[in-house]
């Protein structure tokens, strides 16, 4: 329900103008969730944008402190719910660093492959949703069709479409099912051609371009000061990608380009993501090709369940470890670690303070969408009309699960 409040009437040169307070959301299709924007407007001209967030606040960080380290994985899924494998990965890296263990190479490949697949699924949504927000309805139907293929792959690998929770501390839950590689490669072949389809649909679409080109420009320096990261920052010409500059897991073994644009407007932010999907696709192919055979979980009965489930029936010791792990979890030595990964939305950071018990003392999530959304309030971007706010919001690509935590 949209309410309009008239603040006061101001005399201007051209006649009477009315200052209006407009509520956009929280139930509005273009707010991508439950975001409420309070707009102060002079007629159709935007004077102030004030996001009101927290409608989806679930106290995730408070819950972290009462969950064991393994139980936290499903909670991280629900941060950026479009790309759970990335969220799992960042968290697992923080815990593994304090435990001083490293996942086996095959597990690292599986994690990275899933993270890149989920990046494709996350970017697919905005590739279609931004045009839909500004009036080009068709693309979303195509991108959702293709996103379904990624969902099917996720379901095949983990058994779940969305909240995969596939990572574990020290590896992944299960090995890839039989025939998975072939199906993933098949998806790569089909999808490579589809990306060009979206571009043909939109790059010369005058309605789309008129709404996004030269709207919401952010300069590189402003973007850094605002704390933008990921594609939003690279669209403004800042060449920074954590996967390349501080490679984690096996990213140093993959070839990829960091996509940057120059103008930093809504179009560039959209285009940056479309091009990133190509790179991700290329990385998924490399992962499938390079993936070695081997273990998928660390061989430490105090941290991970035994891979060979048959042992549970024969070995008393394995059985005891399994019980202890399931009932109480494992202890993480006291210390602190900040793990930063390149999530689809930007820098996803987990700051873990452990006190030696089975639960974290403090686990802070640096959620990229939360920081990115702040750019809406900034007056240095050239948002002029009400319609530009929608384009700007869509191009920043916030996921409310992550904004509200």
């Amino acid at each position: 329900m949209t309410e309009v409040t008239v603040l006061d009437e101001v005399k201007t040169d051209t006649g009477l103008s009315r200052e209006v307070l407009l509520n956009l959301g929280p139930q509005h299709p273009s707010t991508h969730g439950v975001l409420r924007l309070l707009l102060q407007m002079d007629g159709e001209i935007i004077e102030r944008v004030e996001p009101h967030i927290g409608l989806l606040h679930r106290g995730t960080e408070k819950l972290f402190e009462s969950f064991t380290y393994t139980q936290i994985f499903p909670l991280t899924d629900r941060l950026d719910y479009l790309c759970p494998p990335s969220n799992n990965l960042g968290y697992a890296l923080a815990v593994e660093a304090l435990l001083e263990i490293e996942a086996p190479e095959r597990a690292q490949y599986i994690r990275v492959m899933m993270a890149e697949l989920s990046r494709i699924s996350g970017h697919l949504l905005i590739t279609g949703a931004l045009p839909m927000d500004v009036g080009a309805m068709t693309t979303l139907l195509y991108t959702m069709r293709d996103r379904e293929m990624v969902m099917d792959l996720m379901e095949m690998i983990s058994g779940v479409r969305m909240h995969t929770s596939f990572c574990r501390v020290g590896g992944v839950r299960e090995d890839l099912p039989e025939g998975a590689e072939a199906r993933i490669l098949e998806f790569c072949d089909i999808f490579a051609a589809r990306i060009s389809d979206y571009e043909t649909l939109l790059e010369n679409n005058r309605i789309f371009l008129a709404r996004v080109e030269n709207i919401g420009n952010i300069t590189g320096d402003d973007a850094i000061a605002l704390g933008l990261s990921g594609p939003n920052l690279r669209a403004s010409g800042v060449d920074w990608d954590i996967r390349r500059d501080a490679p984690y897991e096996i990213y140093d073994k993959l070839e990829f380009q960091v996509i940057t644009r120059t103008d930093g407007d809504c179009y560039d932010r959209w285009k940056c993501r479309v091009d990133e999907m190509r790179e991700s696709l290329w990385m998924v192919r490399q992962c499938v090709r390079q993936m070695p055979k081997g273990d998928i979980l660390v061989d430490d009965p105090k941290i991970a369940f035994p891979v060979d489930k048959g042992l549970l029936a024969h070995s008393m010791e394995t059985h005891i470890h399994h019980f202890e792990l399931a009932a109480y979890g494992f202890k993480v030595p006291a210390g602190e670690f900040y793990s930063a990964i390149e999530a689809p939305k930007g820098e996803l950071g987990y700051y873990l303070i452990a006190d030696g018990s089975t639960k974290p003392f403090r686990l802070k999530v640096r959620a990229p969408s939360f920081v990115n959304l702040q750019a809406l309030t900034e007056r240095t971007t050239n948002i002029k009309y009400l319609a530009d706010v929608i384009a700007m919001l869509g191009s920043l690509d916030p996921v409310m699960g992550e904004v509200d935590k």
Binding site: I53, A97, I224, G227, D245, E336, F370
Partner: protein
Amino acid sequence: MRVVDIPLEQVLEHFAGRVGVDDSAADMRCLLVMPTDLVALCTLLRDEAALRFTFLSDICGVDYFPDTPRFLLVYHLYSIPHKMRLRIKCQLEDPPVAPTLTPVWTTANWHEREAYDMYGIRFDGHPDLRRIYMWEGFDGYPMRRDFPLRGYKDDYNPMGAERPVEGSGS
């Protein structure tokens, strides 16, 4: 992740002993600073040519209740040109007050609102210090350790106040 060596000598010299170094963490170097020196230190870290910490990643509040000093603010910085990270820690007494960093990094605005909302840390000079997740009029600071995990006032929570579990000893 390995610890990248950061040329911090000049900064430490500039503050003549008022800024400490904590090298216990395995991931990055860490500076300890008093609230009074926080803004000056951050401005220096941002502008110094050899450092250029232009990117503020995160501000994290921590509550050490019942220990004192009770609160801790942790800042994570990143230098995009030099590819290095740095952590700053600032201890606060109860009631916690810290200077705002919004003039140094615009992005500090919402991070500080979050720390205020969750821990009740006041930021002097903040342009718009309001709750960000909880609603106006919410009583208490949810992330504090003495705030119950379950059972915030009966009006809001039908489960009622949290009772100690029998036999758990707590």
